[in-house]
């Protein structure tokens, strides 16, 4: 993390979050926080509770118990809409784009800019020109190498699609972007592009919670790793203080956190 003149603000804090599905106690009191601009890797074996935790934060499955604080203020997140209104955006691995829409339409889907003419506005008339202009600004902010914003998403590479998804999240003023395996389906070069993008948005003050199975990926882009095991935090360590092998040990339970 680049040194700051003030103490970094806490973007998100999770306190004693519990969640059960029927008899399964998926989260058993999870505590951790993410500071502004920090990239935190969320690791854990299958069934450790990663997805459940993310769904609690993104509002898909609200938590049973516990508190979620955003910038130090407690918030109620009962739906994805709540999460979005508190500046939490989720970037999914593959369901985040409409393949037959161009970049502009994807960036603005369900957040369309309507015509300034009140009569046309009533009809839901789109202001395509303005959306195009803002799309260009949003993509430039991410140094993104999209061939053309008029290009249909299905003609773009996996990395470019992911870039559009991330641009969409950041463009809507997200303070925290949750990314679920953003590079799982990508090749080496494409993954590197996405990693660069993650570092870039983090340098712009956006926090990132990155769910990944890929230890190497976490070591490359994250500042900190949070390891979940059996619904509890097994470790919460700075990346520079840990080796990949120790991280694997923490995930499998072979090693205990110091």
């Amino acid at each position: 993390m680049t040194p700051r003149f003030h103490v970094p603000d806490t973007a998100l804090e999770i306190r004693e979050v519990h969640k059960s599905f029927g008899g399964v106690h998926a989260l058993r009191g999870v505590n951790f926080s993410i500071t502004q601009g920090e990239v935190v890797g969320l690791l854990g074996d299958n069934g450790a509770g990663k997805s459940t935790l993310v769904r609690c934060i993104s509002g898909v499955h609200p938590a049973d118990q516990g508190q979620i604080l955003i910038k130090g203020k407690e918030v109620n997140i009962h739906s994805p809409h709540d999460a979005r209104s508190h500046g939490i955006e989720t970037v999914f691995q593959d369901l985040a784009v409409i393949p037959n829409f161009d970049v502009v339409r994807n960036l603005f889907l369900n957040r369309e800019i309507l015509s300034s003419n009140p009569l046309l506005r009533l009809l839901g008339w789109l202001d395509h020109k303005e959306m195009k202009k803002q799309s260009e600004i949003a993509l430039r902010r991410l140094n993104s190498r999209i061939p053309s914003i008029d290009e249909e998403i299905r003609n773009l590479s996996g990395g470019q699609r992911q870039a559009v998804s991330i641009a969409r999240a950041v463009n809507w003023g997200a303070d925290l972007v949750i990314m679920d395996e953003p590079t799982a389906a990508l090749g080496v070069e494409q993954s590197a592009q996405v990693n660069k993008l993650i570092k870039l948005i983090s340098s712009q003050g956006v926090s990132v919670l990155l769910i990944s199975h890929n230890i190497q990926h976490v070591m490359e882009v994250c500042n900190r790793a949070v390891v979940l095991r059996h619904g509890r935090i097994a470790a919460n360590v700075a990346i520079e203080e840990i080796t990949p092998d120790d991280l694997v040990g923490l995930i499998t339970g072979a090693k205990q956190a110091a």
């Binding site: 999914f92 409409i98 037959n100 889907l109 369900n110 008339w125 061939p147 299905r154 773009l156 470019q160």
Partner: protein, 328 residues
């Protein structure tokens, strides 16, 4: 691999880009229209085929198909299909004609429209509730509605003598221009604006393109799909009223053979049969193309049977082109 690298560099080969622009699927229907007109003009040089009067006549006669094609475009845009449109035509016309006998024409029109709206509503509720393909649900309602139309009047035709009704719905004209053109123009403008220019249209196509992404973006997928199916049913009932107005009566067999024509018209117009890609102008031009082919075949001396074969062939060609595009 080269194409991927090229795409990353943002430089599709220049010629290929030009090629792609010229041979876009959206333009196919226009090329087909020109080819068909040229072909029939040559073959039928000794007839009145290539005349303004004939083309005006074709557009006028095709109007009910044009309206159904526009409605079908909305259903296909969200990834659904409505096979019950032909049956709705007959039942709407009959209900309207029956009500017209006992009360004012606006009430009869409302009753006719209600048939389409209700069928669309039932189609969409069943599709969402049972979570089965709209193809199967509307195949069922197609049978039910067609059966109801037969039972309703015991296969008898109902004449319509209300002049106001017949004037508005198909028989009238403004300054020697048939009221059918007004219907086509209104439907085309409303349909085109709704699908291409508004937030509603963007949501329709998003739902058809990737329903789970649309849901993740906070779009009410079920509501959007239901609206599309109701639009398809409503345009079918307007088509029924236009047939009734033009023919001065209603009969159970109205619209019977229209389903294939409508789907072929929409498919050749560039709308994907699997959702997410739709063109209202394409559907309108596609319906005219179907009308021209019909007209040409008749002038050439072919019977209805050959026309049905031609329609089937066109549908298959359109689908073949579309599938190639969709799989890209």
């Amino acid at each position: 691999m080269t194409s991927l690298t090229n795409a990353i560099d943002g430089q599709l080969p220049f010629l290929r880009r030009i090629f792609r622009r010229i041979f876009q699927r959206e333009y196919f229907v226009y090329y087909a229209l020109i080819a068909v007109v040229l072909f029939f003009s040559a073959v039928l040089a000794d007839t009145a085929f290539f005349s303004l009067a004939n083309f005006m006549n074709i557009i006028r006669q095709t109007t009910p198909i044009t309206l159904m094609a526009i409605g079908m475009t909305f259903a296909l845009a969200v990834g659904h299909i409505d096979l019950s449109v032909g049956s709705v035509v007959a039942l709407s016309a009959l209900v309207c004609a029956l009500v017209l006998d006992i009360t004012y024409w606006p009430i009869a029109v409302a009753a006719g429209l209600a048939v389409g709206i209700l069928t669309g509503l039932v189609n969409s509720i069943l599709t969402e509730w049972l979570r089965v393909s709209s193809l199967l649900v509307t195949l069922g309602t197609m049978g039910i509605v067609a059966g109801l139309a037969r039972v309703l009047t015991n296969l008898e035709s109902i004449p319509i003598t209300n002049d106001t009704f017949t004037t508005i719905f198909g028989s009238g004209s403004f300054a020697s221009i048939s009221v059918m053109f007004v219907w086509t123009a209104i439907a085309l403008i409303i349909g085109w604006i709704a699908l291409s220019k508004t937030r509603f249209g963007a949501h329709l196509l998003a739902v058809g393109g990737n329903p789970s992404a649309a849901r993740a973006f906070g779009i009410n997928v079920i509501k959007v799909r239901m609206t599309a199916m109701i639009i398809a049913g409503t345009t079918a009932s307007i088509a029924g009223l236009l047939y009734a107005g033009r023919l001065h009566g209603a009969r159970y067999s109205l619209g019977e053979a229209d389903l294939l024509t409508v789907i072929a018209a929409v498919a050749i117009g560039g709308t994907s049969l699997f959702g997410g890609r739709a063109s209202v102008t394409g559907a309108v031009v596609g319906s005219w193309l179907m009308g021209i082919i019909n007209n040409g075949l008749i002038l050439w001396g072919f019977s209805t049977n050959e026309q049905i074969i031609a329609r089937g062939l066109i549908l298959i060609v359109a689908v073949a082109i579309g599938v190639k595009e969709d799989r890209k």
